[in-house]
């Protein structure tokens, strides 16, 4: 078999294994709950029979391993279980399917994340590469210290500064990103502008710094010096000699930062009351609605793992040593 294929398959296998172990960790969070949590969910007035029925519904009367496989089987079919909220002591169950709560929120979050990525990725690659090429110039120093400052800012600080300036002082954008399914696309973009800008500022700072470091590292290779000594022009050095070797580090930087976006989105959504997955998760954590937390964690972690996996695969298939084995 071609070594690329076997390396990629190996890497995919490892990714699947990681997903599997992560799913076990997320599943077992239920195991760590205190024994009387049924009471806590249903309220002190709940009858022992109601609590018992609730425990049976969660399958707590069966061994954990069996329960895990039932759970993961359901998850694979898109069934993330039923939320804790909406139940009460009387046994009347108004709880909702976790998936039905997550789905619309997930779409909103994906919308925000892609909007951010579309602005942030090209911008930071441009800034990072130019800063690396004009290293130690005034431009480089300004970009560098600006980004060093930005990464030191908590996300909510960046977000509130934007609200203060662009929403309450100059009324350019709305401070509450109030969107729903039937909002028109243009309106959606307008209302999501501030959260997207806030996220962009945070991501660009990280991504630009990492891109710059990766390019500088690359430009220090002896084969770049050799190209200079062959009289190759600056633009050709970049295009012919640096770029073909730069894919792996650049894709890694992008994937790492898109994964970081997953985290940043939680805080920014809360600030702008954006109806996304992060907001849902924080609410669920506050009310200790474990199935919803599990569902959200699974989706966030899965995205994160897949993005990193994708970057790994790209760096494998662009590696000349693997592309052209001995």
């Amino acid at each position: 078999m071609h070594p690329i294929l076997s390396t990629v398959i190996q890497r995919l296998g490892l990714g699947l294994l990681t997903l599997f172990i992560v799913s076990i960790i997320i599943f077992s969070s239920l195991e760590f709950l205190p024994g009387d949590f049924g009471q806590a969910v249903l309220g002190q007035a709940a009858l022992p029979e109601t609590v018992e029925a609730f425990r049976r519904e969660l399958g707590l009367d069966r061994p954990p391993i069996e329960r895990y496989f039932m759970w993961i089987g359901n998850v694979l079919q898109g069934d993330l279980g039923t939320a804790f909220s909406g139940r009460n002591a009387s046994g009347v169950d108004r709880s909702r399917e976790v998936w039905s709560m997550i789905e619309p929120r997930l779409m909103n979050t994906l919308f925000l994340a892609s909007m951010t990525a579309i602005i942030a990725v090209p911008l930071s690659l441009f800034l990072g590469i130019t800063a690396a090429l004009y290293r130690n110039s005034i431009y480089d120093r300004v970009v560098n210290s600006t980004t060093l400052t930005t990464i030191s800012f908590p996300e909510f600080f960046v977000a509130y500064i934007l609200i203060l300036v662009f929403s309450t002082y100059f009324k350019v954008f709305p401070s509450l990103a109030n969107i729903s399914d039937d909002t028109a696309l243009g309106e959606k973009i307008y209302r999501s502008a501030l959260p997207a800008i806030a996220l962009t500022m945070v991501i660009v700072a990280h991504m630009m710094r990492m891109t710059r470091a990766a390019i500088i590292n690359l430009l220090a290779s002896p084969y770049i010096e050799m190209a200079e000594l062959k009289g190759v022009s600056k633009s050709q050095i970049i295009l012919r000699h640096a770029l073909p070797n730069a894919w792996a580090p650049i894709v890694n930087v992008i994937a790492f930062n898109l994964a970081y976006l997953v985290v940043g989105v939680v805080v920014v959504e809360v600030v702008f009351v954006y109806p996304g997955l992060g907001q849902l998760m924080v609410d669920a954590v506050t009310s200790r609605d474990i199935p919803v937390v599990q569902g959200c964690a699974l989706i966030f972690a899965g995205t994160y793992i897949l993005l990193n996996l994708f970057a790994d695969v790209i760096s494998i298939i662009t590696n000349p040593r693997l592309l052209h084995p001995r």
Binding site: S221, P222, Y223, E225, A227, L229, G231, Q236, H241, R326
Partner: protein, 537 residues
């Protein structure tokens, strides 16, 4: 031979180059003059830090990041490089002046085929059409005796060996038919047997196209084969300039003579039957099924030096690791004073560990940079002999005097010592344990010649005074001549032969020993020519 009637191609006058380190600029080339005529080869020789590469690059008008050409004149074919625009300078590189780097593996771009990289500059300058340039490159590959010259260019750098890459790089430099090629230690990273082939190929092609060259190296014997004239450089200054033959037969400066100092020591070998260590039928591997050592047998007589010679990958260092217990043999045993030693380090007693000590190639990494000389030498005294307080201090001082250093060194850190002093401290640390056997792993190969001589003399004196036995691992035949009583030749994990120095160094040789010994360059400008003639016949 230098011919004063030829046109001058390169002329450097009072060139000064500054390097930036430790927060300020230092002068690293301090006013060097250099003249090179068309078709001539100049050997630029000097030890580490002499500024050879910096000067070589300056001949292209190039300074590495962190360096700058501060003054002086560099005239190439009548053009003043220091006055030229960046663009005009660049247009000379790769067309009229080319460069061959030391590390071929790192200097080729891993993403492109060799042929494309070979013709890149030629095609860029439109000196030839791409097809013609490629055809020409294949011819050059053939001239350079590369295997399968028609197709080797379609390979990627990681697909060919180091010696082949070095020749491809020479073809790359030659592709544009430059007036001048700078060879920057092109064979330093190669084994001696490969070095001969590469040297021969390079010399032939440079002669064929009558290209002028600057050949940079630290090895006088190598440069003697290549150069018409030699310039000796030290601390960024010229020590001596002379035609090659005159330089070798009648060097004027003491420093030049010291460049082959090691070759002046020759130990009178003495046989002995009192065996202190015996390696018996040892196999070893680093996990997996590939054996690094196969049935290795070595006998080490007491109070003598056994030199283990071989090229990289021959298993000589692995043998040392097996003896010390770092890599327990998978088969066979190691006898010390007739008693079998436990295979693994952790099963050996403190007393057994104390008897065998080790000295490393890189004294830099063999000493903890955060410990003072007192800590470094004192620790074995404390650990094995239980000394402390003034007794410990006195013993450390004794050891310092034994290695010809004084008490002013007691509280220095390794960073405050020179290369030779560091290696001496390592020797003192080994001596502190009062060992019977010291394993020396390439202990002189990272040092300058004159320092090597000092270390070797010290080791010989210590052997005479204290009766210590050495196992001396090296790839350098001059060092073997200087220090050994017995020689073990290793190749591909096997012992080819063991015997007294006289027996091994004299014919008849087994095939590999012959190849190894004959490949070591000698201080004779005709050595390579004679060798090639001999091998051809």
């Amino acid at each position: 031979m230098s011919d004063n009637n030829k046109e001058i191609l390169l002329e450097m006058r009072d060139v000064r180059i500054d390097g930036y380190s430790d927060d300020r600029w230092h002068e690293i080339i301090k006013g060097v003059d250099l003249t090179l005529r068309r078709g001539e080869i100049l050997g630029l020789i000097g030890e580490s830090g002499a500024g050879k590469s910096t000067l070589g690059l300056a001949a292209m008008g190039f300074a590495r990041p962190g360096c700058k050409i501060s003054s002086g004149s560099i005239k190439f074919d009548g053009m003043e490089l220091t006055d030229m625009s960046e663009k005009d300078q660049r247009n000379l590189r790769g067309s009229r002046i080319c460069y061959v780097a030391q590390s071929a593996a790192a200097s080729f771009n891993p993403a492109h085929r060799l042929l494309e990289q070979t013709v890149e500059a030629t095609v860029q300058y439109k000196l030839q059409s791409e097809n013609d340039a490629k055809q020409d490159a294949r011819a050059l590959y053939k001239d350079l005796q590369l295997p399968d010259p028609e197709n080797i260019g379609d390979r990627y750098p990681h697909q060919v060996s180091g010696g082949q890459l070095q020749r491809v790089m020479t073809a790359m430099a030659m592709s544009s038919r430059p007036d001048l090629i700078i060879f920057d230690e092109p064979t330093t990273a190669l084994d001696v047997t490969t070095q001969v082939e590469v040297l021969a190929a390079m010399r032939e092609i440079v002669e064929k196209f009558n290209t002028a060259a600057i050949y940079i190296t630290h090895d006088l014997a190598v440069v003697a084969q290549m150069a018409d004239t030699i310039k000796v450089l030290r601390y960024g200054e010229t020590v001596e300039d002379a035609p090659t033959r005159a330089m070798l037969s009648d060097p004027q400066e003491d420093y030049t003579k010291s460049l082959w100092a090691v070759r002046s020591i020759e130990k009178q070998a003495a046989p002995s039957d009192d065996i202190v260590l015996e390696v018996r039928g040892v196999d070893a591997s680093y996990g997996g099924s590939v054996k690094v050592l196969r049935d290795v047998n070595i006998k080490v007589p007491r109070g003598r030096t056994v030199a283990v010679v071989g090229e990289s990958g021959s298993g000589k260092s692995t043998t040392a690791r097996s003896i010390t217990g770092l890599l327990p043999p998978s088969k066979g045993e190691i006898l010390f004073n007739g008693q079998p030693l436990p295979a693994a380090l952790k099963n050996r007693t403190k007393e057994q560990l104390q008897r065998i000590q080790m000295i490393y190639q890189m004294a830099d990494t063999a000493m903890n940079p955060r410990h003072t000389v007192r800590d470094i030498i004192g620790r074995p005294l404390q650990f094995y002999l239980g000394l402390s307080g003034t007794a410990l201090d006195r013993k450390v001082l004794d050891l310092l005097q034994l290695i010809e250093l004084d008490e002013s060194f007691m509280d220095r850190l390794p960073a405050e010592l020179s290369g030779g002093q560091k290696q001496r401290i390592c020797i003192a640390r080994a001596l502190a344990a009062e060992p019977e056997l010291i394993i020396c792993d390439e202990v002189t190969s990272a040092l300058d010649q004159i320092v090597q001589e000092g270390i070797l003399k010290l080791l010989l004196r210590l052997q005479e005074e204290l009766g210590i036995t050495y196992i001396f691992i090296t790839h350098d035949i001059a060092t073997v001549r200087a220090i050994s009583d017995e020689i073990v030749v290793m190749f591909q994990g096997k012992v080819i032969e063991q015997g007294s120095k006289e027996a091994i160094m004299a014919p008849p040789y087994p095939e590999y020993t012959e190849l190894l010994l004959s490949s070591v360059p000698e201080m004779d400008p005709d050595w390579l020519t004679n060798l090639l003639a001999q091998r051809a016949s």
